[in-house]
């Protein structure tokens, strides 16, 4: 309700200014993420407008050369590993935290979230030091473990949200009917919170797929991920191939997170107790 039924002139001016400001801010938000798209289809080798002509040569570079193919492969290995681990452990933790019986909830929750708050350089440098001692440096396992720490908070939070409306009596009913806890989990709880779990998995995947700082410190030369190649490319030789890689990464994250968001909304709505 921006305007009252009988707006004064001052009110009209204020609302117009508000719309104008809002439009400017939205342009500021959207233009930078849209700009790599046309540039990635430009046939020229420079990042300047006007565009020279339509071409998919930069996508051929990203999808067709060894360097980028290895990077995409590495990113997928690490992102799938992270997603599996973070989703499994994060879901279990969210279930534990949603129980009223959970001891020290007020301590555990901030701890689980803290990897999102601690500057990622500190996490990366610390992992580099520790993994070198235990033989995990330059291994996929090392990077996956570090990424799981960064990704699991998202799973705990999204699964936790879909559990707020979950009726615990269903689990009691299953138990009374003779179901063992594991059976009750798979047959009763998991189907109901599945949208939340999938949404958490999407967040975990995107977190790992986009991550560059930990990868920079932990990955050896043949474990470079896609964002790491981009980072190195941006530092060394600015090529339009980077805009193609950026467009691909952006598409992937946006598609996954749109799906995640729709799932979360649906799960929260579905699990709300009906009056």
């Amino acid at each position: 309700m921006l305007l009252s039924p009988y707006p004064t002139i001052g009110e009209r001016i204020r609302v117009t200014l508000l719309w104008l400001w809002g439009a400017l801010v939205i342009a500021f938000l959207m233009v930078p993420i849209l700009i790599p798209v046309p540039l990635s289809f430009n046939s020229g080798a420079f990042f300047v407008f006007p565009l020279e002509g339509f071409s998919t040569r930069w996508y051929e570079v990203v999808l067709g050369t060894d360097r980028w193919q290895t990077a995409i492969g590495n990113s997928l290995i690490i992102a799938f590993g992270t997603t599996a681990l973070a989703t499994a452990l994060g879901t279990l933790t969210a279930i534990a935290l949603s129980s009223e019986k959970f001891p020290a909830r007020r301590i555990v929750m901030p701890l689980v979230i803290s990897p999102l708050i601690v500057p990622v350089v500190i996490t990366a440098v610390g992992s580099y030091l520790f993994y070198a001692r235990v033989g995990l440096a330059s291994t996929y396992v090392g990077i996956i473990l570090a990424h799981t720490a960064l990704a699991s908070p998202f799973v705990v939070v999204t699964v936790g949200a879909s559990l707020t409306g979950f009726d615990r009596n269903l689990m009691r009913a299953a138990s009374i009917s003779g179901a063992k806890p594991v059976v009750a989990f798979y047959r009763i709880m998991l189907p109901l919170i599945l949208p939340g779990v999938l949404s958490g998995a999407a967040f975990a995947f995107v977190t790992s797929f986009d991550e560059v700082v930990v990868a920079q410190f932990l990955a050896s030369a043949n474990q470079r991920t896609m964002p790491l190649e981009m980072f190195i490319g941006l530092r060394e030789r600015l090529s339009p191939a980077i805009t193609a890689a950026a467009t691909l990464m952006m598409l992937l994250s946006i598609i996954l997170l749109v799906v995640a968001n729709i799932l979360t909304r649906r799960s929260v709505r579905k699990s709300k107790p009906t009056e």
Binding site: L18, W19, V25, P36, T93, P110, V118, D210, M250
Partner: protein, 411 residues
């Protein structure tokens, strides 16, 4: 028909309930254990090990075992006795032969600039054939007869050290045991911390100025319009920091779109150098952080009923008064959450300053990475991490206590 309750039965039932509750508590804790163990291994222990490097550095103590013993009788003034010089000569020679000398030289050089070449020179001289009086060989190098050298060794021979943490805030011990500021040409870190805070504060303010009116607009338009507008906030939010930083490196080029537009609008007459500048860095960081500030504000605003403002108007409140006295106080928790979150995250920025900032715009995380990657000085990287972490965690604690972690939902 039941008679008086059997107290023994009641007790055993109470005990059974307690037992079952304890079991349930243990089971729920057991479910959380795998993640907690993983966080310990891939987050807790690594950070603890890193931080321990800030206060524990045994390099000098390990390199100079004989000298350490001999120095126990030293008064701490001037230079030590000949026995210590003999011990030092033996230690240096041993290091030279075992190939550890450069590590020791590097470690002492970090505390006393210029020490490296003197140490390497002395060690080479001692390792030659036919040195009859090693102590005099050492003494013939003026570096070893300077009291500053010996007070540095005295500090360094203790493995537990405050040297790096103090260096990280531009302080050092004097020979007589008091604290002083390091000379201006070495004092860099307080400036870097101040710069990090300044950039974080500027970005926070910019996101608030840009984001608050937009959040208000989105929360007051009809739902369908609001849904479209909020997507415009979420799409950049879901795009990775690296991709957005890459986009800004393209936009901020000398012949990039920002300069094109500024020139077309006639704001400037010439093309500006926005890449590798503070302005460019702040623009890019503001773009990345804007959704973080806006979304917590928006989530509070949409719970406020429009009828409240109408009530304020009908009671005779003028628009500004009604806004300030009725609307704003309710939004304050959202503003605090958004701004605090953005400020905390800005303190740890690394990618964007590395790619868009100039040499004078590098933030504290970039210095940490540089000490690890280029200078190989783990102790200094650890000390800077320690201080950055203290600030971050203190602000995080404020956030969790005052505002609650529920405001951190990833929308």
């Amino acid at each position: 028909m039941r008679t008086a309750p059997d107290t023994a039965d009641a007790k055993s039932i109470a005990a059974a309930i307690r037992r079952s509750q304890t079991r349930e508590r243990l089971r729920s804790f057991g479910l959380a254990t795998p993640l907690l163990v993983l966080l310990l291994l891939s987050f807790g222990i690594p950070i603890a090990i890193l931080l321990s490097r800030a206060i524990y550095d045994p390099t000098i103590a390990n390199a100079l075992p004989r000298t350490s013993v001999a120095m126990q009788s030293w008064s701490g003034n001037g230079i030590p006795d000949d026995e210590t010089f003999n011990a030092l000569a033996a230690d240096l020679k041993a290091n030279q032969q075992q190939g550890n000398i450069s590590e020791f030289a590097k470690s002492l050089n970090a505390r006393l600039p210029g020490a490296r070449s003197q140490i390497l020179k002395t060690a080479r001289a001692l390792d030659k054939e036919g040195v009859s009086d090693p102590a005099s060989v050492v003494k013939s190098v003026p570096f070893w007869t300077s009291p500053a050298t010996w007070s540095t060794i005295e500090n360094g021979r203790h493995a537990l050290t405050s040297f790096y943490l103090l260096s990280a805030v531009d302080l050092r011990w004097t020979a007589d045991g008091s604290l002083e500021r390091v000379p201006p040409e070495q004092a860099i870190f307080l400036r870097v911390f101040a710069r990090t805070f300044l950039v974080a504060a500027t970005v926070t303010l910019a996101t608030l100025i840009l984001g608050f009116p937009l959040a208000y607009l989105i929360s007051s338009v009809p739902k369908t319009v609001g849904a479209i507008l909020i997507i415009a906030v979420l799409l950049p939010f879901w795009t990775s920091i690296l991709v957005r930083t890459a986009a800004w490196t393209v936009l901020l080029q000398k012949f990039g779109l920002v300069n094109d537009v500024l020139l077309w609008l006639g704001v400037t007459g010439t093309r500006l150098d926005l890449m590798y500048s503070r302005v460019g860095l702040i623009i890019a960081m503001t773009h990345i952080q804007l959704p973080f500030t806006l979304l917590p504000i928006y989530s509070v605003m949409r719970t406020i009923q429009p009828s409240q403002m109408r009530a304020a108007y009908s009671l005779g409140g003028r628009p500004l008064t009604s806004f300030l006295r009725v609307y704003l106080p309710q939004v304050v928790p959202g503003i605090m959450a958004g701004c605090l979150l953005t400020f905390i995250l800005c303190l740890g920025y690394y990618i964007t300053p590395a790619l868009i900032g100039g040499a004078g715009d590098q933030l504290i995380s970039n210095f940490i990475a540089n000490y690890v990657n280029v200078e190989l000085n783990w102790e200094m990287a650890a000390a800077l991490s320690f201080i950055l972490l203290v600030f971050t965690m203190a602000l995080y604690a404020v956030f969790a206590r005052v505002l609650g972690l529920d405001r951190l939902k990833p929308v």
